[in-house]
C-alpha cells in the first residue's frame, strides 16, 4: 500500500530534483516535513521498489545510440521463458517483456534493441535469433515519434 505522504512525495519528485545545495531540504519544506523524514521515506520507497531508480533519465540519442528497434518474437510456452532470459543477457537489449496474445497478435516476446545504426539493430536481432534458435521475428523501427513524456502520477486529488 502507498500512503498519502508517499503519494505527495511522488507528486513532487516526478517534477525533478532542484539544483540547489540541499535539494531534499527544499522539497521537505514544500511537503511540510523534515529533511531527515523525507530522506528516510525516499530510502524506504527505494527498498520497497516503489522508486525503481533515483537519478537521471538520459536522452540516448545524444550519446550515439541513435537507432533502436522493437524486435518481437513468436514463441510460446516454456520456450518463451528460456528465450526471455537469454535475450535479457544481451547488453544491447534494454527491455524484455512477454505480452499477452490478443487480437491475433502472435509475436508475444518483446525486446527493445539499441544500436548505433538501423543495420546494427538488424545484426543484433540476427545474433539473438542464432543464439535462441527462434526464427520468426519482426524488426519494428519507429518511423516517427508522436508523443514521449514522463508519466505524471496522482495528479487528481
Amino acid at each position: 500500500m502507498i500512503s498519502s505522504l508517499e503519494k505527495a512525495i511522488v507528486r513532487v519528485l516526478q517534477e525533478g530534483l532542484p539544483l540547489v545545495s540541499r535539494p531534499f531540504q527544499f522539497i521537505a519544506e514544500i511537503l511540510n516535513i523534515t529533511e531527515d523524514d523525507l530522506i528516510e521515506a525516499i530510502r524506504d520507497m527505494q527498498s520497497r521498489g516503489l522508486i525503481r531508480r533515483f537519478g537521471a533519465a538520459v536522452k540516448h540519442q545524444d550519446l550515439g545510440y541513435t537507432a533502436n528497434a522493437m524486435v518481437v518474437w513468436k514463441v510460446a510456452g516454456e520456450s518463451a521463458i528460456t528465450a526471455g532470459e537469454l535475450f535479457s543477457s544481451f547488453p544491447e537489449v534494454s527491455h524484455c517483456y512477454q505480452r499477452e496474445n490478443s487480437g491475433g497478435w502472435q509475436h508475444s516476446l518483446f525486446t527493445m534493441v539499441h544500436g548505433k545504426t538501423d543495420e546494427e539493430c538488424h545484426q543484433i536481432a540476427r545474433s539473438m535469433s542464432k543464439a535462441s534458435g527462434l526464427t520468426d521475428y519482426l524488426v519494428l523501427f519507429s518511423t516517427e515519434e508522436l508523443k514521449k513524456e514522463s508519466m505524471k502520477y496522482f495528479t487528481e486529488g
Partner: protein, 153 residues
C-alpha cells in the same frame, strides 16, 4: 554539445547511484574530485542541452498501483495526424510511435485501475471509428534497464 570525461563519469553515476543524502551534489563532487559548484554547473548545462531529460525518481508504476498496456492500431495513412491527436490527448498515454508494420501506431497506456484501460480503449475506437486495435499487457517482465554505460562511448 561536447561531453568531457568528467561529464560522462557524472552521468554514469547519477543514472543509477544518485546519493539520497543531505548534500548530494557535494557528495558527488567529493567522489569525482571536484567542487559542488562544478557539479551543479555541469548538471545545469546538461539539463539545458537535454542530455539529462529529468533528474528525480523513476517509479515502478505497478507498485504505485497503476496498470499498463501496450496498444497497436491500424491507421490509414491519411488519418495519422487526426488519430494521433485523439490518442495523445489522454495523459495516461505517454509514448506513441509510428512503426513499419500494418499495425502502424503503437502507444503505451497507464491508468490507476484496469477498468479505466478498457474504457479508454473503447472510447478511442469510438472516437476514431477504427476497430483494429490490439491491447498487449505484459504477463512477464524479464528486463528493464534505463541506464547506459557511457565510459566507452
Amino acid at each position: 554539445m561536447e561531453l568531457d570525461s568528467l561529464d560522462r563519469d557524472l552521468l554514469n553515476i547519477i543514472q543509477s547511484d544518485f546519493p539520497v543524502t543531505k548534500e548530494p551534489y557535494k557528495d558527488l563532487a567529493n567522489s569525482l574530485g571536484t567542487t559542488e559548484e562544478d557539479i551543479l554547473a555541469r548538471l545545469e548545462r546538461m539539463t539545458e542541452n537535454n542530455i539529462i531529460r529529468r533528474l528525480g525518481g523513476i517509479f515502478d508504476s505497478r507498485k504505485l498501483g497503476y496498470t499498463g498496456t501496450l496498444c497497436a492500431i491500424k491507421v490509414p495513412a491519411d488519418r495519422i495526424g487526426q488519430v494521433a491527436g485523439i490518442i495523445n490527448a489522454y495523459p495516461g498515454i505517454t509514448h506513441n510511435y509510428l512503426r513499419n508494420h500494418e499495425y502502424n501506431m503503437w502507444f503505451t497506456l497507464l491508468t490507476p485501475d484496469k477498468k479505466e484501460i478498457e474504457r479508454i480503449i473503447a472510447e478511442i475506437k469510438m472516437k476514431t471509428g477504427l476497430h483494429q486495435l490490439i491491447s498487449l499487457p505484459a504477463v512477464k517482465l524479464f528486463k528493464i534497464r534505463v541506464n547506459f554505460d557511457l565510459t566507452e562511448g
